[in-house]
Amino acid sequence: MAHGPKKILNDPRNVVEEMLEGLTLAYDGTVERLPGTDALVRTDLPDEKVALLIGGGSGHEPIFHGFLGKNMGDGAACGQVFAAPSPDTIVEAAKAVHRGRGILFLYGNYAGDNMNFDIAAELLEEDDGIDVRTVRVADDVAAAPPERAHDRRGIAGDVYAIKIAGGAAQELDTLDEVERVARKAVGNLRSMGVAVAAGSIPETGKLTFELADDEIEIGMGAHGEAGIAKQKITTADEIADQLMDKILADIELASGDEVALLINNLGATTMMEMLIVNRRIRKILDERGIKVHRTDVGTWLTVQEMAGFSVTLLKLDDELKHYLDMPARSLGLSNC
């Protein structure tokens, strides 16, 4: 089993299958896996609702397949490690969550995801006449300048996007309305991360990038995509400053505005580090008079054993606050 970085696995080529088996069991009956597929669906779906389908590559657990439940995702299409799910998987998941009111596809903005979900959406509309809308999370400000914001990657902003869309899909009656709320949330999300050490794909056993012992990479993506620059490791305060500079330059936030603040562990970083970073972030926000409505610090969108974290700001209004704060229960995120 000495296969690249040390991990507790069985067959490295079978990790997604085994993970999905363990995940489905961990849902204790609230979620089922569609036989012969990598599609997961809530078992307690009400008869009539707008459906929220989420998904993406595996290896980022607990997102996405860990985010199913009441006021969260209704179903998930799961891909292999760092690989978007296939159209088949998406179509299966979509048909199973559909409850007559159309489906919102919500996922991170990557070429692979976009193509596979688009193919599935075309098939569902052509073959089954199901109304599908697509909202892509593209929150990573490091990934492209504002004028090419649609090219940005989806990173930990996914968490808030799913939380809000999940609430909206529970409460609102039409796909139009759910799409509108999800789109507003996504438009108000900005994130940026820093990488401290690489993760590896179990099947290749290879680290996805290289960093020297005294180096970090600011702005790196959630699959080890290149960031803005490698640099010598510096203090938590300086790193927080760098991330916040870029994020705050990208979104209009005036004194008195309210945000939700999420600090996401990419894998192996300690919560102690993230809390130390939070201290600085709050100082920066306080200085600008920006109010923090809620803070979430934890591990939601990982990149295998990568070390590093990202910071996400979501600009709030009353509607977004309402859906964000709705109670929810899932394997990877609960809220009360």
């Binding site: 794909i201 080890g224 995509e225 290149a226």
Partner: protein, 211 residues
Amino acid sequence: MSTELTNSQVNEMLQAVAQAVIDNVDVLTDADLATGDGDHGIGMRRGFEAVAETLQTAPDLSVEDAFKKTGMAIMSKTGGAAGAVFGTLFRGGAKAFAGHDTLNTVRFGEFLTLSGAAVAKRGGVEEGAKTMLDALAPAARAVSETQSDDLVEAFTAAETAARSGVEASKAMIATTGKARSLGERSIGHPDPGAISVLIILGAMRSYGASL
């Protein structure tokens, strides 16, 4: 000199293609580690293992269906960008063979041309974006321009053009896919998907030459 492949030869050839991709998993992994997330090799292996299985159990497929089923197997098992684009490559051009029992140079050229168009549409890309299209599109042009009806010549033209495409991709700045983030730092590295196109066309050429 063979100018035509029968449907069972096409089936054999596509199995040889699958094997070539599977054999090159490490090459593709390393290429994707340099510019992307390192999963292109294992993704292509997943897809082409499914292709091999599909073709082995259905030796009597028409040429069109063999390409279609190949594309469908890739599309359903690979995942990621590669699943969509390589699935599209095989499916998107398959209608070039509709109503024909055999594969010849002209139809193969049409296949590649249609495939290239389908990929460009699906991926929202043009040539120069540093994708597999930078190997596929030149290969399609090379085959279309081939005067000879010797299939080995056609395959060789395709392979040669794809090889130049892989080379040319090194100088490109990626504007889509996971390599996009690298910006100018993507220069110097070939596109992994373009390498896969080269492997696929190379395996076709070898198959043709072995007849």
